[in-house]
Amino acid sequence: MSSYLEGIIMLSGINLIAVLGLSLLTGFAGLFSFGHAGFMAIGAYSAAICTTIFKLPFFVGIAAAAAAAAGASWLIGRATLRLKGDYFCIATLGFGEAIRLILDNFQGLGGARGWPGIPPHTTLVNILILDVIGVVLLANLVRSRHGRNMIAVREEELAAQVAGINTFKYKMLALVVSAAYAGVAGALLGHYMTFIQPKMFSMVKSTELTIIVIFGGLGSISGSVLGAVVLTFLPELLRAVDKWRLVVYGLAVIGIMIGRPRGLMGGFELTPKSVRAHFARLREAKAARADQAAEEKGGL
């Protein structure tokens, strides 16, 4: 495998972890975040502090990244998730920008010039292992009562409440898990690039993650996987027209919301069972049409 191709695969694997987290928050719990790059930044810097300054093993760095990002998200959630209106959204926007500004001005960690010399611990193998763990844990979560409660919050908050669901608690759970995923992705990214800089985690990064979730489909894990892979490869293939890429993405996002709001996969999960069921439905529909046609003929 060429190292170029391997590099793109690794990047899409890293993106995937952040996207899975955001998929839980936006696709399943229905919350919108502008600040996920901020959680990635917290993860990247926490992990780098562990491995570079304290010389701790990489897995400790990853765990610290997840914990630090989760902790930060908990604080934001505590302040905003009980409030009605767009407070959460605005807070994530403010948070993402604030983290970047703080890191820009914090010379101890390299400031705006960035922090080089992070050990290259990230490998294709540990990315893939974490991807698999990430997908399995998320799939298990959304198909449990905890996941169903999050979906209920997205669907109809008041009904969820009177059905005994503590909506604050489940929004918080979605947020914290989601931030932990972003933290892990940040840790992997830092130890892949061996260099981190605050501007790597700008709002553009947050919106790119959201775009992937939306393209893959709100409420579909397999869609997020597909989205993360395709949308990381696509820009590499389309280098020549790169400046038009985001123009097209912007229009496509509006188009999806207007025409097919649940995204390309539309809440559909790609599993062997669902594929079989889909074909069974198609056969049934065909049979029903045939019956109807026969009936109409008979009626004439």
């Binding site: 767009d86 605005i90 919106t207 123009v247």
Partner: protein, 292 residues
């Protein structure tokens, strides 16, 4: 003391431009109940409209100014028609509005980068660098003009909302869109007018930001401050948005003057966090209960 007064005046001037942004944003929020995150893109277009009207079309400042705010009013309405109206019509969840707004914002910023390019451009120097002295306080001519025009626009908006029929329809819709529709208010028209007004104010703010700083595709990111100002003043309240903006402008200028200019941008977020933790309804906001 003189320095303090000087900072206050500068803060008031920049705060009044923040108010133009924040009022436009709050106006839309009060009607539609969602944050129009494409507002920044409209402001950015205002800055470019004004810039090109002056440099390419060689228009004098007042004409270029008019081109900018008419252009952004039209732009804001077009965005509403394309990106939000279909969602409104099928009662889509708010999440979809926010995502659609994000799409519009990405589109606006990147269409400029793709066609005009990412370079920073400087407005022609219309007002000169001279300043007017009032005792020990020197006021830049641009700052003074920014403040006066912003104040006039805001006063005009208040008159429009308080005194005209359509203004009262806007008030009714902000209170309860469905009820207003039942009472015979054409809510579709109200939404259109609200976007046009918001767009107009955004265009004016865009020209001022372009003149005070420079023009570049990411200048719309400055709207983050209008969100903070709106939360600070009380989300959805127009007087709150003005008050929050002016205070934010003053606090920012004081921080830049007395502490460090690096903290200038950070202070907005410190305020945001403080408000969310201690008084989420902001200075003038009130809590509301959903009608079940």
């Amino acid at each position: 003391m003189a320095q303090f007064l000087q900072q206050m005046v500068n803060g008031l001037s920049i705060g009044s431009v923040y108010a133009l942004m924040a009022v436009g944003y709050s106006l839309v929020y009060s009607i539609m109940n969602f944050s129009n995150f494409a507002h920044g893109g409209v402001i950015m277009f205002g800055a470019y409209f004004g810039f090109f009207a002056m440099t390419q079309l060689k228009l004098p400042f007042p004409a270029a100014f008019a081109v900018a705010f008419v252009g952004t009013a039209v732009l804001a309405v077009v965005i509403e028609r394309i990106a939000y109206k279909p969602l409104r019509e099928r009662n889509a969840p708010f999440l979809y509005f926010i995502i659609s707004a994000m799409g519009a914002s990405i589109f606006l910023e990147n269409i400029i980068i793709a066609t005009i390019g990412p370079t920073f451009r400087t407005y022609p120097d219309v007002f000169g660098r001279t300043s007017i002295s009032l005792g020990s306080v020197a006021i830049g001519r641009l700052d003074l003009i920014m403040f006066v025009i912003s104040a006039v626009c805001l006063a005009g908006l208040v008159l429009f909302i308080e005194k005209t029929k359509i203004g009262r329809a806007i008030q009714a819709s902000a209170y309860n869109m469905k009820a207003a529709a039942l009472m015979g208010v054409n809510t579709d028209r109200v939404v259109m007018i609200v976007f046009a007004l918001g767009g107009m104010l955004a265009g004016i703010a865009g020209v001022f930001f372009g003149m005070k700083y420079t023009v570049y595709p990411q200048i719309g990111n400055i709207t983050t401050k209008s969100f903070v100002a709106a939360v600070f003043g009380g989300l959805g309240s127009l007087p709150g948005a003005v008050l929050g903006s002016v205070l934010l402008g003053i606090i920012e200028t004081l921080v830049a003057g007395y502490l460090s200019s690096q903290f200038r941008d950070l202070i907005a977020f410190v305020i945001l966090i403080g408000v969310l933790v201690f008084r989420p309804t902001g200075i003038m906001g009130k809590t509301t209960e959903d009608k079940a």
